[in-house]
Amino acid sequence: MIPQEIYGTLEAIVGPENISQDPEVRQAYRNKDRAFINPESETLGTTPDIVLLPATTEEVQKIVRVASRYKIGYTPSITFWTPQAGARFEKCLHIDFKRMDSLEIDAKNMNATVGAGVNFAQLQAEALKHGLYTVVPGGGSQVGVIPNHLLFGFSPLTYRAGLAPRRIMGVEWVLPDGELVRLGSFASGSDGFWGEGIGPDLRGLLRGHIGWLGSLGIVTRMCVRLLPFHTAKLKPMQMDRHTFFMLPTDRQKWYNFSCPNLDVMVEFMYEIAHAEIAAAMTRVPIAWRYIARSGSKEQFWKLWPEDPEAKRKEVAEFMINRVMLIGYASQKQLEYEEKVLMAIAEKLGCTLRRTRQMDGSWMQSGDAVTMWYLTGTFMSTTGQLDSLDASVQSGVEFAKMKKNYTPPLMEDHGDQGWFQINDFGHSGYLEFILHSDQDAGPEEGLKIAEFYHFASPKLVAAVGGLNFFNQIMSPLGHDSPLYGPNYGDFARKVKEGLDPDNVSNPPGVLDTLDKVIDMNPPLKAMKDW
């Protein structure tokens, strides 16, 4: 336990109402990594010693200084639903940013400055009031704005809006020793409109497809770029449990195209990008379609065909490119883009299907968590950022490998995963999604663990991808030759230079899989590095 005198010091910083070491309060902040063998598998997750609710950057600085002085680890959190967001070592502080919820929109310069506790639902709702928008990530609207901008921040809308780390304009950064640094245009004491700062641009120290996951200090305030949107009304609706926006179809529409095969779908995406039209594009995994049609888990499994041959055929033929067009400036813009889109579709033999003009997933993400409801678990074994061709190919390879692990993994009959195109064709993205029974027995659990912890990262390395889910917990991650011979060394030097006592969200983003493996003898037997 952390000594009472330190508790007293921390209490003086945030006030008695905003600190707790009650076991029952701390219990709620226990978040476990997943070993997958069974629900009770040993992992790095533990209960923090003290939970704090700071209200200002100054309070965060003071907390961090105390932690640094006494060499106590701390974990910052907002949404708190990735395993890395929880304390993983004894004697940890958990810093919860709920009270740091400031949000200011600069409509003229199209940016927002947010506190560490602001989520995407709040930012998007405020932005839309000003005819602006942000990109709500696949993780859902409850995701924190700051950490997601320091990560990859994917959504089909990144096709046009670009990746989230590139939309960071200003950063207020509390270093692991408590010193305050301002990056981007905050560096010159300005507001956030500029972004590049005075140079050299130190934003690169923090942002990236993985970033540091809180292990290089705490960003307490950030200015993020917003993008122009149409001013027509997105009308919130509810039918049974489903909530969604009805789209104003004179300004915003979805189009579902059936493509003859995978190659044509990829070509279709590239051609749309080269024509510089569309707001979003994504390939829809077939299970999502069944989720959308189901009223419950029971109904999903009733609808999901049991006949494997029929299902394989359906999956093979289900090549749907889902395209969103937005008339940002006018109805005429949408009309023009629609003409171009239809011409490309006709040329490639892609057929427009009936498409419901509603959205519950991307303008605001109300349904991200439905991924869990099929089986009770959800895993993304890879999130691959590469060229679109390479990303798609890795999905094909994953689908082949998955056959050897199905069951216990849920049978999805060869589905190649969720992929999309980014940055007007400059990159692609693939996420290979897995489901398994949360009640899987030990034998099945071990097989799932083998797939997730060992087979998947090796396949990612083999197909030449950059993996940003397993990289968090894999020796094939930052230290991999895929990143260059000394990338991991340099990253480690940065960490050691700024956080020599490793107090900022220990153990950091590196090498945690080895620790989980060491805790679980059945996994240890599989380790071949």
Partner: protein, 431 residues
């Protein structure tokens, strides 16, 4: 001890274990989020901020208790009972996951009572008063119907019973009086129970399921004695108890009960829409309607489930999921929209995204500072709309808002919908 699998904490272990920790349970549905200021719908977390005071945190405590890792310590009890059981997490979680969060919270309280850690003193005091006097205030229950106005057209052979509830019988008597006035204007055939007793809501929500079951049986027998087959309430809590908790305690479905439950807003709206209830007197006010959580999210029909989980946790036989979206939402709005002179504004958090007033589930009695904080926050939201009157459909909401408005000298009148309706039927000053 109530022998009913649906009231056992272990029945919801899988639900607690399946929580992925997304925090969806605390926010207004993202599609309906209207900005940063009023985006939270969990009153408990609004008040205390630590995750333990959310459904997500209480799930972990429930799991700890089931595993023997957590005891019913005073802190655990405080966390468990600083919750309005308002169904915010129920509606939010079931948007995506079908976890029975409300039942985890309710059975956690039942377990606390079974273990002797609850009812907490403030709740025990109320429960004792109910046992001794038949009402939550410990008042002479023979005076319960003194509010009944002379000339009220009470029937000898009623089709429906108006169940006024403790609050409207002893505190906000104008609500009971207004309700019978509305029923009279409708020409309804109604009566009161012969010496009505508390519905048992404080008993059930404090976790004393045994006492609640006895109260249910007593009240149902009293209803049967009248020959009526419909219960009308003006109190959202009484409504929920008769419609949901009595069947739950008796391990039957709402549909299987011998009676039907209606809130007065449902009865009145039917009359308005059919033309039998005339609203002729204008009420010239800018008004917003506060959705009572018990009426809105907590009153989906109860359907017991006895079965097993198959592969992937599929329920066999398929469970009928209660999602907190089939409550009384449109009727009060249609009523207010029908009253001449009223300019109706929507609260930012409305319908299934409503914010509880902060009083329910024994919180007002045990943790008054919590209720004060939450009801003031709700009044801030109302004030931002520039309204003059906040209308609710539950006497406990009215109490909470009236208290907060008076303490803060806020220029908002807090009334029950029955009062507004009565004024439009009979003119001002009739109550």
């Amino acid at each position: 001890m109530v022998e009913n699998a649906n009231l056992r904490l272990e029945e919801y272990r899988r639900d607690a274990e399946s929580c992925p920790g997304c925090r969806g349970c605390i926010w207004v549905d993202h599609i309906f989020c209207s900005g940063s200021k009023y985006s939270m719908r969990c009153p408990s977390l609004y008040h205390r901020k630590f995750d333990a005071y959310s459904c997500m945190g209480r799930n972990k405590i429930a799991l700890g208790i089931m595993k023997g890792e957590v005891d019913f310590t005073p802190k655990a009890i405080e966390i468990i009972y600083q919750c309005n059981l308002c169904g915010a997490c129920l509606a939010a979680c079931k948007r995506n996951l079908d976890l029975d969060t409300d039942m985890t919270l309710e059975t956690l309280r039942i377990r606390a009572v079974e273990k002797g850690a609850a009812p907490i003193p403030e709740h025990k005091a109320i429960n004792d008063k109910i046992a001794q006097s038949g009402n939550r205030y410990g008042t002479d229950n023979s005076k319960r119907s003194e509010w009944l106005p002379e000339g009220a057209k009470v029937s000898d052979k009623p089709e429906m019973v108006y169940f006024a509830g403790c609050n409207s019988s002893f505190r906000n008597k104008e609500i009971a009086t207004a309700t019978t006035g509305i029923l009279d204007a409708l020409g309804a055939s109604y009566a009161l129970l012969d010496e009505e007793k508390c519905c048992g809501n404080p008993l059930y929500e404090s976790g004393d399921a045994d006492a609640a079951l006895e109260q249910a049986q007593r009240n149902i027998a009293a209803l049967k004695a009248t020959g009526a087959s419909v219960v009308v309430t003006s109190c959202a809590e009484c409504y929920k108890v008769w419609k949901v908790d009595y069947p739950k305690l008796l391990d039957r479905s709402t549909e299987e009960m011998e009676y039907k439950v209606l809130h007065i807003t449902q009865v009145a709206n039917q009359g308005i829409q059919s033309g039998s209830l005339k609203l002729e007197n204008p009420v010239s006010m800018r008004v917003a309607y506060h959705d009572s959580c018990k009426l809105t999210r907590c009153s989906d029909d109860w359907v017991p489930w006895h079965g097993e989980r198959g592969k992937y946790g599929v329920t066999i036989p398929p469970k009928v999921w209660r999602r907190g979206i089939k409550g009384v939402i449109m009727e009060p709005r249609e009523i207010l929209a029908s009253i001449p002179g009223i300019e109706l504004k929507e609260m930012i958090r409305n319908g299934m995204s409503t914010l509880c007033c902060g009083a329910g589930a024994g919180v007002a009695e045990a943790y008054p500072e919590y209720t004060e904080n939450v009801s003031n926050h709700r009044l801030d939201e109302a004030e931002d709309l520039g309204i003059e009157m906040l209308v609710s459909s539950c006497p406990y909401c009215k109490d909470a808002f009236t208290r907060a408005a008076e303490q803060g000298s806020r220029p908002i009148e807090c009334v029950d919908i029955t009062q507004v309706l009565h004024e439009s039927i009979y003119g001002k000053g009739g109550l």
